[in-house]
Symmetry: C2
Subunit: 178 residues, 2 copies
């Protein structure tokens, strides 16, 4: 199952770090790519590109003008999960989403999510019904979707690799194949 993250309504400056964190969390927890709408922001794209270049994997990030089109295009072959605190509790729906073999678009709001998104989504999922963060909602959703297996993921083509330590930091620099 391919998982792709759609971030709606990015505003440069104000959202820069949260959107960057969102896509880095998407990558770290097993999504294969992301798309955002709103206003194009080279600094987000550059931060994500730089992490992929150092730490590997195939995560790709794109921008599109229309969230509606992005969702409708996806729905031709895949299904849509919208993360919102107003949706159904995660544990009530996660099993159905997991066993559904189609690729998933995970839609994550920014400032204001148009009401239409709730209608277009196959599942509106609440990762708690409390206000917190799209970053935490996405990470916990993906962690549950993959049942924790994403924690063991290998990121191919990395230049850097952490060697886990109980106290301290150790980063290996890897030689890249040609």
């Amino acid at each position: 199952m391919v998982v792709h993250v759609l971030r709606i309504g990015h505003r440069p400056a104000r959202d820069e770090r949260v959107t960057t964190h969102l896509f880095l969390a998407a990558r770290a927890f097993g999504a294969s790519g992301g798309t955002y709408t709103g206003v194009r922001d080279p600094s987000v794209e550059e931060s994500v590109r730089s992490v992929v270049s150092d730490w590997g994997g195939g995560f790709s990030l794109g921008f599109t003008e229309s969230w509606r089109e992005a969702i409708r295009n996806w729905e031709v072959a895949g299904k849509v999960v919208h993360l919102t605190m107003y949706g159904l509790p995660l544990r009530q729906v996660i099993e159905a989403i997991r066993v559904d073999p189609s690729d998933k678009l995970v839609v994550v709001g920014g400032a204001k999510v148009p009401g239409e998104v709730y209608g277009l989504a196959d599942w509106n999922v609440a990762v708690t019904s409390q206000p917190h963060s799209e970053v935490s909602a996405l990470a916990v959703f993906l962690h549950e979707l993959h049942e924790g297996r994403e924690l063991d993921a290998i990121f191919e083509g990395a230049r850097l690799k952490v060697v886990p330590q109980d106290h301290g930091k150790l980063v290996e620099e890897l030689r890249r194949g040609v």
Copy 2:
């Protein structure tokens, strides 16, 4: 087990939204309070206070000048978990942290975490060894620590409460007891 979150090195403006998201995630995933160091930021405090006032629970947020003192004070009676991509894999250590009955201080870095923190921590824990976000790291750590039970938490004294919907938004306004 009481869980408290310590955010090190907050910088107003640059970190405002990420730190706010961090403490809202702390609250939503079952921490009972937070403390931050760096530069004091009334807008973070006000955002968190406003969520607690609307959505309930007893989450409290404080500021302190010295992270070193905060950690050392905590260590008198509790233990310290430092979330860092350089630490030991979550699944390798979470069971030991879960069964240890002492209260936990979860330390989360900002821009630059002093090397001393790695030494002071009882556990340095990597929620993936990939760069992503302190917000996602904290949420997944707390979700694993509480084995998902935090998703069913009741927030006492809430003024607002979501009524989960498959498509749409429904928020109940509750009358407060005197």
